[in-house]
Symmetry: C2
DNA sequence: GCGGTATCGAGAATTCAATATCACTAAGGG
DNA sequence: CCCTTAGTGATATTGAATTCTCGATACCGC
């Protein structure tokens, strides 16, 4: 099964490289359609799935919201979810001692921090 | 619209008071059925909705998982999600400075921390 | 260029949490 | 105890995200 280099896949990859933040399927669709007008949502999902299983992208799950996707291999970071525009942004820095908060006997393997509020664009308006 | 005191509603309330941790609809169903054998999932959802709008319960949203519910009015805290048994537990303590991590210009209003790993029961086995 | 086939696009289908429907049950005031 | 009706249980339905189907398209090795 040879992997071909299609416009669609290229446009989706480029979308992530330009965005610099996690993107949802419909965000990707809207942005990548500027490059590939006929792009369909099925192709977006198909491509996301492939890029994730190829290790190029990572799934970003958030409370009460559909998954976002971001480039794999980024340094450990967390996320900011804007309540106005629903966009998600990366947040640098990490309260590493959070793992100590687990009750006695619990084995903590990972953690996630999500901030909620208004992004700079929405806080201004 | 008079509110009646039914066995079902009482059993569901008692379930939360005994659990001491956030519960999902099916967890509630299973536990409360020990008291009210015929209990149906529709009643669980109906009752949860009512108790939330009455301010008795709060919704706990978690990444990539159906909502849990917990008693309202608890002190600020966070959550631990066990990857083995899928149960959620409360975690005391809070890295308050996390809100400072937001990028410049962002207005942070709230935050959530979720720990992942094995709860004490699952870590032992 | 040609051909084989990976990939695409549109729409149908699936999944699963959550809600609605409706005939039946039972809480509780009189 | 009786009657009204809030509440219940089983099941159908919804809604949103995601996946599948299938005929059409376009990579790319030859």
């Amino acid at each position: 099964m040879i992997t071909r280099r299609t416009q669609q896949r290229h446009a989706i990859r480029a979308t992530f490289e330009n965005a610099g933040r996690p993107l949802g399927p419909h965000e990707i669709l809207n942005i990548a359609r500027d490059v590939v007008p006929g792009l369909g949502i099925a192709t977006v999902y198909r491509t996301l799935k492939k890029l994730v299983s190829d290790g190029e992208l990572q799934v970003v799950e958030l409370p009460g919201a559909p998954s976002r996707y971001e480039l794999a291999g980024l340094a450990h970071h967390h996320h900011f979810h804007c309540r106005d525009c629903d966009r998600v942004f990366d947040v640098e820095g990490c309260p590493e001692q959070v793992t100590d908060y687990a009750p006695p006997g619990f084995r903590t393997e990972e953690h996630a921090v999500v901030l909620y509020g208004r992004c700079s664009a929405c806080a201004t308006g």
